[in-house]
Each structure stands twice: as C-alpha cells, then as structure tokens.
Amino acid sequence: MNDLIIALIKVVFIWVWVLLIAVVMTWVERRGAAMIQDRPGPNRAGPFGLLQPLADGIKLFTKEDIIPAKAKKLLFILGPILFSLPAFSAYAVVPFGDKIVLGGKEIILQVADVNIGFLYIVALGSMAVYGIVVGGWASNNKYSILGGLRATAQLISYEVPWGLALLAIVLVYGTFSLREIALAQQGTFLGILPNWGVFKQPLGFILFIVAAYAEANRVPFDLPEAESEIVSGYHTEYGSMRLGVYLFGEYVNLCTLSALIVTFFFGAWHLPYINMASFLGPISYGIASFLVFFLKVSFFLWLFVWVRWTVPRFRYDQVMGLGWKALIPLGLLNLFLTALAIQLTA
C-alpha cells in the first residue's frame, strides 16, 4: 500500500513537473524568441507575461471545435490523442534525480526503474508517427496529408540514426536501465574529464541531438508543420484544444528529449568533479540532485529555442539526404568505433 502511495506521488509529481515545464516552455519560447529578435514579446498577461500560456490555454479551451465535413470524424478525434499519448508517457522511465531518503525509506527519483526502460523509450518513439499520420489523413486536406506524409517520412528516417546512437550508448553502458546509465556516469574518465557520455560518445552525442531535433520537429527540421507551402502541415485543420494538445505534446516531447540527452550524455544529476552525496544529507542530496538535473535539462530546452530562432529550415529532400547519407553512415561508423574500442579494452 505504501508503495502504491509513493508511486502515485511520484507519478503525480512527474506529471505536474512535466506539464509545468511544457507550459513554461511556451512562455520561454515566446519571450526568448522576442528577446533574440529585439522585441519584448508577450508581457501583458501577468507579470512578465508569465500567464500568457494560461491565457492561450483558456482561449483554446473555449474555442469552437470544428470537425471539417470531409474529415473522417473518428480518426480526426483520435489524431491528437494518438500524438500526445506517447509523448506524455515517455517520461515514465526517465529519471529526474538520484534518490531521496525519507523516513528511512529510499525512494528513487524515477517513476519506474525497469530494466528495459531504454527499449520502452525506443518503442514509444516509434509510436509517435501515428498521431501525425492519423491527424493528417483524417483531415482530408491536401496540406494536411502532404504534411503528414512528410512528417512520417522524416520521423522514421531520423529514428534510425537515433537508434544507432542509442545502440552505441548501450554498448558503452551495457544496460537498458536508465538509472544504471545515469549512475555509471559518476567520477572521472581518463583522469581529467568527467565521466560523462558526451566524452565517451562525442559523435554519438551529435547524432543523437540532431536526430532529437528532427524527432521533435524543431527548426531546422520543422518542415512537417511550418514549411511555408503547406500552411500548418498536418494540423492545418485542427483548432481549439485539439490543436492545443498537438502543440502541448510537442513541448512535452522536448522535455523528454532534453532529459534523455542529459541522462545519456551529460551525467544526469552528477556534477563534474564533485560528489554531492558525500557532503549532503539524504534529503538535501535528493533535492540537490533533482535541481542539478533540472538545470541541465533547462539548458537543453533553451538550446531548442535558441537554435530555432537562428537558422533557416531545410528543404524536404535535404532533410532526407542528411538523414540517410550523412547521419546513418556516421551512426554506423560510430557503432563500429565504439564496438572496436570496447573490444580492445575488454
């Protein structure tokens, strides 16, 4: 029973946290973009415009819900659900801190530390396609279908380099548990560098982050939804909260991806050269690990925004070319080198 309550608390906590990040991200994105572009951005709703996402939310909630006459009703309704469900559920296996000791009971700061957590992420990643396909197809609008088709082709193309980068990580750490991967990054490596994935897998990191941008449909890979010739891509016909769910799912995705980047490559909650556990109490250590993790995640979230407002976007064939001609061979090379290195050191 106790376990159940703890699990429930963790689930709720993570849920609220991820939701909050997603909400705040919409604000950060708007204000950040504005600041980059020499303008103030939304600053009327609440202090610093912080309530802007709330206003957007209320607006979307009370907007009329149109189902186009030509659309396939059931599928049209299903689209956003299918899109956001994998996005929302992926965080279940990602850690958000080390552990906290409360009343003599050790609580891992992770919803579920399953030994195939890694594969769970992969599986959910491959499910994200459906929301887009179904949404685009059900709208029965040329731009939507074309956007859906492109989005799908792009997503699946970048799943391969993504998987290859992950494969190299598995080679390095030899486990499918994200917590174990995180734990393995303590200490130093080669004497001087922090024992972080990014130093062991520099190529893998680049592959992973590029693929992550593509998976999240972010600039410069945002063509499924923002390429100017297809209006808004697969969600052209979506309005009201259905659109809100699509947009929201994207931010949740960003959050998960950033957490994954931190977990795999940036030492999760570990600080370089400092062992927090050695001088912090059990509770404060838990909180500190959470905060460190959060800070790292926020950096990558900000990176998403930052890059978005710096670069133009690719053309469709260039995206595919980059994926298949550059990233996948690089991924295979990375895999080969990693395997070789491990074999040699074994």
Binding site: K70, A123, Y130, N140, I145, T152
Partner: protein, 165 residues
C-alpha cells in the same frame, strides 16, 4: 492476474475482428495496432518483456507504419472501400473455411496442450541479456541469415518499385 489476460485477450480479438471488417483501411490498421499492443501486454504476462517491447517497436512501429504509409500513398480519404463482395458464394465459403480452420486448430492443439505442463522459470527468463547470449551462441547462424534476408528484401523492394518509374 486472470483479469489481465482476459481483458487483453478480449481486446485483441475484438480489434482483430474490427480490422477484418473495417470499411476503410486506416481504421483497420489502427485496429491492428490495438491488437499488437494488447498482444504485447500479453507477452509481458508471459515473462517476455523483450519480445513485448519488440512487438511494439517492430510490428507497431515499423511494419504497420509501412502499411499505413502505403495506405496514404494509394488511397485518398474519400475513397471508400467497397465491402460488397462480388461473389457471395465465395465469401460464405471463405467464412465456412475459416470457422472450420479454427475448429480444427482447437481440436488439434488440445492434444499438445495436455502434454505441456507449467514449469518453473529461471530468474532471468526472458531478460534481454539472456536473449543476447542465445543470439550469440545457439542462433548465431540464424542471426546472420536474418541480415541476408533483410538485405534481399530491401533490394527486392527497391527493385520492384523502381522498375516502374
């Protein structure tokens, strides 16, 4: 845990029927997706987490995506599939044959099922590592043959679809 089995079994069968009777292929594909996911849940129940995950990654995430892709390529949402069959007798024959097949299978497998009793499982049963070891030892050749099979499939698919360009 019975309820677990029955629930997913029911979902699997229902969505399977939905798929087979679907008027349009995309809802059919979604029905099949549901079947896959419920089967994956059953695999978890059968102590095969790796297979369960692979079921989702490969079947739902790759094979079905391909099917869905083809649906999008070939069919517009406006195009309704005709459920009308051209040959009624053909259809009833098919139905009869199918039912007969189920019956046959049921009768046939009953015999086997009686033989196999439940065995105690080793602790790492179904764990990825174990499968990895097996793939390296007992099934090494199969593993390599799979790669050749995939290669052939790839080449074949490209050849067939490129030929018509």
């Amino acid at each position: 845990m019975d309820i677990y089995f029955w629930f997913f079994a029911l979902v699997a069968v229902a969505s399977g029927i939905f798929m087979v009777t679907a008027r349009e292929p995309l809802p059919g594909a979604l029905g099949l997706l549901t079947t896959f996911i419920s089967l994956a849940s059953l695999y978890l129940h059968l102590h095969a987490p790796l297979v369960a995950i692979f079921q989702i990654t490969i079947y739902a995430g790759a094979i079905l995506v391909l099917v869905v892709f083809v649906i999008m390529l070939l069919m517009t949402p406006d195009e309704e599939l005709s459920v009308k069959q051209y040959n009624l007798s053909y259809k009833s024959m098919g139905a009869i044959a199918g039912v007969a097949m189920i019956a046959l299978l049921l009768v046939g497998v009953r015999g086997i099922a009686c033989i196999v009793g439940e065995k105690a499982l080793p602790s790492d049963f179904g764990q990825p590592g174990l499968i990895g070891k097996l793939l390296y030892s007992d099934f090494l050749l199969h593993f390599e043959v799979v790669s050749v099979l995939l290669l052939v499939a790839l080449v074949g698919a490209i050849y067939i679809s490129k030929r018509n360009l």
